[in-house]
C-alpha cells in the first residue's frame, strides 16, 4: 500500500465537509476524486498531503515528504524566473538530480518556452510547466488537484499518457478533475 486512509473527517472554517473517507491505494492504481464545486476535493487532498490537519482519522504512507508530489490549483512558479530556472529550483530543493528536466520539458512541449519568464506564459503553458515537475522529480505517488485546468485538448492527451506511463512504472495517483478521465487500468472513482 502506498497510502491508506482511514475514517478521515475533513472540515473547513468550522464546517464539516467530508466524513468517513476510507480508501487505500496500491502501486499501479489511480483514484479519480469527483464532486461538485465546494464539495471538499481540494481540502481532502490538502489533508492527505499534510498541509492541513484532518479533524479526525488517519493517513498512512505519506509521512516522508519524498514519497509524493502535490500539485494544487496554484502552479508554484515564480513569475520572474524562467521555466527552466523554476524547475531547477524545485529539483534542488527536493535533492533530486537535474538530469530529467530536459526530458520533462520535451514531454510537455515546453521547449520553445523554456527560457521565458513564467509571467510571460499563457495560462495553459504555466500549467504545463507545473506538471513538468512530476517528471523532473520522480516520486511514486501523485496528488493532483485539477491537473487538466487550462490545458488544451493536446495537453489533456499528454497528461493521460504521462499518467499511464507513471502507473505502468509502479506509481499511483490521486486526481481530482471535473472533466471525465478516460477509463484506465487500475483507475477507480471516488464520488464525494
Amino acid at each position: 500500500m502506498l497510502i491508506s486512509v482511514k475514517d478521515l473527517v475533513v472540515a473547513r472554517g468550522g464546517r464539516t465537509l467530508l466524513t468517513g473517507i476510507c480508501f487505500g491505494l496500491d502501486r499501479e492504481q489511480a483514484l479519480h476524486v469527483a464532486g461538485s464545486n465546494g464539495s471538499g476535493k481540494t481540502s481532502l487532498l490538502e489533508s492527505l498531503c499534510g498541509l492541513r490537519a484532518p479533524e479526525h482519522g488517519s493517513v498512512e504512507g505519506l509521512e516522508s515528504a519524498d514519497v509524493f508530489h502535490w500539485i494544487g490549483h496554484k502552479n508554484a512558479l515564480n513569475p520572474a524566473l524562467t521555466v527552466v530556472e523554476n524547475l531547477r529550483f524545485w529539483c534542488r530543493v527536493n535533492n533530486a538530480s537535474e538530469d530529467r528536466i530536459e526530458n520533462a520539458l520535451d514531454r510537455l512541449q515546453l521547449r520553445a518556452q523554456q527560457h521565458r519568464a513564467c509571467r510571460e506564459l499563457s495560462v495553459g503553458q504555466r500549467r504545463r510547466a507545473a506538471l513538468a515537475r512530476l517528471l523532473a522529480v520522480r516520486r511514486p505517488l501523485w496528488l493532483l488537484d485539477e491537473p487538466l485546468s487550462g490545458l488544451d485538448a493536446g495537453g489533456v492527451d499528454l497528461f493521460i499518457e504521462m499518467l499511464k506511463a507513471h502507473l505502468a512504472l509502479g506509481g499511483a495517483a490521486i486526481i481530482t478533475s471535473h472533466q471525465n478521465l478516460p477509463p484506465l487500468n487500475g483507475m477507480r472513482r471516488l464520488q464525494l
Binding site: 499534510g50 498541509l51 494544487g72 496554484k74 502552479n75
Partner: protein, 221 residues
C-alpha cells in the same frame, strides 16, 4: 544543506533580474539619509549628533520595505506550500531566504553607511563603528522584518499585534546601535554595545527562523 543553498541562490537570482537592482538599496539609503538634513535648519551645526539615528532609521526602513513581500509572493503563487512539503525543515529554507535578503539589501546598506556618515560629518572612527554596528544590526533587523512579514501572511489578524511582538526586539537594537556610534563620537569605548548587538544577531539568526516557519505554517490552516 543543498536545499538551503537553492533557496538562497534563487533569492539572489531574483534580485539580479534587473540590471539596476544592486543600485536600488544604495540609492534608497542615500535618499533617506540625505532627506533628513532637508528638514533641519540650513547649516545647523548640530547635524552630526543625529547622524547615527538617521543611519539606523534608514536601515530599519529598508528591512521593513524590502521584506514586505518575501513571503507574500511565495504564498500567493503556491511556492510556500511546496516548500512545506519539501524533505527539509522549513526553518532552514527561511534561513536561506532571509540571509539572501540581507545580503542583497542589508549588506550594501551597512557597507555604505560609513561613507554617508563621513558625508554627514562623522569622524573616521565613528563611521567605522556605525558600519560595524549596522553589519550586526541589519542582520537582526532583517530577520525581524522577515518574521513580521511571515506573521502578516500566516496570521493576518495578528497584524495588529505586530508592534507588541516586534517593538521589544527592535528597540534594543536601535538603542545599542546608536549608543555605540555615540560612544565612538565622544571618544569612549563602543565595545560593549557592539557585543550586545552581536548577541542579539546570533539570537535572531538562531531562533527567528523557527518562529517564522511556525507563523507561516498557520497560513494553511
Amino acid at each position: 544543506m543543498s536545499a538551503l543553498k537553492a533557496v538562497f541562490m534563487r533569492e539572489l537570482q531574483l534580485a539580479a533580474r534587473s540590471r539596476a537592482d544592486w543600485a536600488q538599496p544604495v540609492f534608497f539609503y542615500i535618499l533617506v539619509s540625505l532627506l533628513f538634513p532637508l528638514g533641519v535648519a540650513p547649516n545647523s551645526t548640530a547635524l552630526p549628533l543625529f547622524v547615527p539615528a538617521i543611519l539606523w532609521m534608514g536601515a530599519l526602513l529598508a528591512a521593513l520595505l524590502g521584506l514586505e513581500r518575501v513571503f507574500r509572493s511565495d504564498f500567493e503563487d503556491g511556492t510556500l506550500e511546496q516548500l512545506f512539503l519539501a524533505p527539509v525543515p522549513v526553518s532552514f529554507l527561511v534561513l536561506g531566504k532571509l540571509l539572501a535578503a540581507w545580503l542583497v539589501l542589508g549588506l550594501p546598506l551597512a557597507l555604505l553607511s560609513p561613507l554617508l556618515g563621513l558625508l554627514l560629518g562623522l569622524s573616521m572612527h565613528a563611521a567605522g563603528v556605525v558600519m560595524l554596528g549596522l553589519l550586526l544590526g541589519t542582520l537582526s533587523l532583517f530577520f525581524l522584518g522577515g518574521f513580521s512579514s511571515a506573521l502578516l501572511v500566516g496570521l493576518p489578524r495578528a497584524g495588529v499585534l505586530l508592534p507588541v511582538l516586534v517593538l521589544p526586539l527592535v528597540s534594543p537594537i536601535l538603542i545599542f546601535g546608536a549608543g555605540a556610534a555615540r560612544a565612538a563620537m565622544s571618544g569612549s569605548s563602543a565595545e560593549a554595545p557592539l557585543y550586545f548587538l552581536a548577541a542579539i544577531a546570533v539570537f535572531c539568526i538562531c531562533l527567528i527562523p523557527l518562529a517564522t516557519a511556525t507563523a507561516l505554517r498557520n497560513a494553511f490552516e
